[in-house]
Point group: D4
Chain length 173, copies 8
């Protein structure tokens, strides 16, 4: 099956526009994988109604995955998951004095029945949310699997290249 | 102004019926203060719609305070607070391997604009939620203030009584 | 019932004048809601006597709510709550190497009988303390409820506006 | 597209056979959703080779999702994710004196490029891993989406039923 | 200078009579050192007035050291230290789901100016509070120093004795 | 009894000369109280022998209290306490990525028999170590008690002065 | 080079005889590898002198590795490492209300210059201390390397065997 | 036995080239001890194959010790230990918002059978990894033991020198 590059298949929601500096990692990663997405802001606490509307829109337009990034008592991913059976990926953000530790526990410790696929705190997690969304989509769209394999090989090569540079710094005389 | 003892003024919501062993502390404390309440179950994640309905009912029937008890990624109090301007009191419960630590952070670390008045983890918190609700109601119903003062005096006396027993255990010969 | 705008109804106490940078959030929020308040400094450990005097004054002048902000082994809110049946709201401050974690546990883990309504660590908590105080006062003064509803709507609109900006950053070509 | 009920599409790996008491939650949930799976034991540290073999087998037989449960320094999910572009779901287990806290951080804090979709610690997480796997599969097999919606409705109904029981315990006379 | 064995020189205060199972360690240790003490109950939150009275009595009767044991948001030692310049020793107790971690931070993180000498959580801490009180008293009463040296030697001997038993369990054949 | 102002009665040991920026708080506080002290560096791990020598010197020259400040796996205070029955005060320092949390637990969680009087992490703790030393010495030297009472009054006055400044910032018009 | 099976090459020290239930794991593992060892009790705080004597004995009798197990403020391994350049392996034990978390930080966070090779908390750590000691000895005694390879193969086989049992529990009909 | 100074006996692997700022401490320490080493980059997750190759090379060229430094969900040391019976030393790095706490638990909490000798978080740990490697090698190469004793003496002297400077800052007039 072929991906339609005109219609978003991933919805990225962040709890506040100040989260964009981190969540843009997810957007850029999806872009580099040619996966069409919509990115927006919605707060579990300030706009509960809007969350429901966004999910209805996502389901009606046949989106496949939702990525949610939030900090502090990060309820966003859970609030999204409460309203849908689409896979929801949560990114805990470091946005309070507790270094994202509060966001991690608020995102991951979901009760039985309502999973949220939690990623690492911060930038690594935002990027991985995009890659994990792609891994999910690859189940339906085999061409994404090929892209992911290419990205994985490039990562491997990049490490090996860096390894050579580090190795050259210390030599036994 | 006089309290109408036929209509509930406090709504207690717990995330699961298994939370009743702890949250009954709140119910019993309200009962002993003669404050009429409704107690029920609703889950932020399993029944998001029901939460909205309960809040609408609470506002329509002129309830004054909402107490919410939940464990793990305890979003319940926050989800309630998102839909109302009534004061919401949150009780974090010890219902996962993390000893209620996850519930505490999920309940207390609310973003600016949507407060949740967080109590201690577990039984002490459940009881204090009821007393704090009474302290709020006392602003409108002065007779509750008198009751609270009586309870406070009794606590003081009870400590003094226990002190005497402990003092008598060790005497200098 | 109408609020008298000449007499303070909320007392804000902070443990040290260095806490003002954070606790001014509470003051400014009450100000913008037209809720008269008194703000001062008192330390649970350095001025225990003063705390009792402030509470007596608060009770004598018919104040309704006390907000307390403190860091480290933050006993202030608890020390206040020990002397009154007025509702006490505690704001844990990030004022030691432990990122406010010590202040959070010292404020929230109150024993049964003496509740402190604990808010988030730092600025979000200071602001929410003011809003929660307003939610309590709204039980007696209905006009405050209307103000709170307006503030809540504005928050919602503000999120939607920001959402549009973020949405416009990434468009599918 | 129709699911072939004779071939496993989900692989469940646990780090030790003692993890079965928890990970059987994942197995039972998949079973009740009629999703064929293979369940086995492999250790990131004791059998690194076996992990590669299991992944090769999974990819060759066209499995779609891998669930991994492990405790302590829980490297299993990460070690699996290192070898595949299939979506990997990690379940941290409470199997050391640190209450699963070590397993949570070891599972979730993956570096950019290699995501692991982390669930809650313990039983809730094991069950949610199965549901999340189903949510992923539903992208390809629409009938699973219908099943998930049914399960979600049943959860809602079950909460409402329990709510009624709790409500009946306390009545205003 | 000689210790008067008829008048208490140490005051032990615990926050609740349920703390006696732990705090009796302090009492028994003082008893075995022949140091006269008074033991009683007083709560920072339930009986703030009583704390002041106990301290006044302690100062008037020329007591030298105060030991205070409390759990959860353990303000007791700090509340005592706020009212006196006598040395105050705090014992954090494991009396909430957070394993005494809350009591430790509430006791030790005192602000500049008001020290509390904090001991380990639980029984070890209660015993050490007594020994530390004796070490303080030994500055004035040299005979206590001799006793402490004897106790220290006995501890050393006891370890060596146990060492021999353990050594004998494993022998090289 | 009168204090001899020519002979040190307090020994301050820090684990590294880099700790001086914090531990100078203890030195300055003792200085302002006119309590003679010796300050030096010794490491539990790098100079175990030196610790024994310093303690012998302290005991031989009739010092009364030892203050020890160290970071990370802060064994210094415990190592000192192992060799003496003089009261040992420990100051945990924030000298590793773990914010002094490691130093706190390493200092306070001493086994039964060997107490270390632990202060707050960092500057507040260093200052309080000096005040606590003075409180101990005051048992023998009554003039120090008078000084401590004066310092305590000054603290109270200073808070009241600051309170007035803060109060004047917000006035009801 | 051949190992002399009559002379201990590993010294196991535990902080208290009550630690034997855990530390016997280390002893039994060394025994099963035919590595001669001495096991004894010594406390960093109760018997500092004894630690020095044990290390001198260990160095004089040409022992190669020291294993140290202790709980709470676990200074034992660090105290041992302070006196020797032999490799010291530390096992943090779960012996306080803080679940071994205090012992872990006290053991691992050693300052630059004095390493302690820290193992996992509790039984797994005690066993691994023995295996790690064997890995060190294998550098000198090649026959131990062979034994370790055999043990490693047996572990692999044991996992595969258990995997088969688990696999047989769930079969697709 | 004499060390061959032309062939590396220690292999240092770090998870990312950005770890070099910390791990160079290990390299420089080995260099100053004249211990030949190879330093390179390999990621447990991005280059699992490379890890096996590096270990094979290390075993084939008769290296004796492997040092591994990694941050976040730091699986590197464990992944290395899974493939070899050579002693593996793990250095947890502070490379995520959680201050290296995640790396510490991921490195140290290894299951029974596969030890990783864990050092302190960050620079102290990196340096100690080198010293511990030297302590291991000293079992085979006695000249390294002499060097280690010299380094240890120098540390002691350096502390004493610093002590003198600090002592001179505060003198009793």
């Amino acid at each position: 099956m072929e991906l339609n590059y005109q219609t978003p298949v991933v919805l990225i929601i962040m709890g506040s526009d100040s989260d964009l500096t981190i969540m843009s990692e997810a957007a850029e990663s999806l872009k580099s994988l040619n996966i069409p997405f919509k990115i927006t802001v919605a707060s579990a606490h300030r706009t509960p109604q809007r969350i429901q509307e966004l999910i209805e829109e996502a389901e009606d337009t046949d989106m496949h995955v939702i990525i949610s990034g939030a900090g502090a008592a990060a309820h966003l991913a859970g609030a999204v998951a409460a309203h849908t059976t689409l896979p929801v990926i949560g990114v805990p953000l470091d946005a309070s004095p507790l270094s994202g530790f509060d966001a991690l526990l608020s995102t991951v410790q979901m009760p039985a029945g309502i999973p949220v696929a939690t990623m690492a705190i911060g930038k690594a997690g935002a990027k991985n949310a995009a890659i994990f969304a792609a891994q999910i989509l690859a189940i339906k769209y085999p061409s994404i699997r090929e892209q992911l394999k290419t990205v994985k090989s490039q990562m491997t090569e990049s490490v090996i290249e860096k390894a050579k540079k580090v190795e050259s710094l210390y030599t036994i005389v």
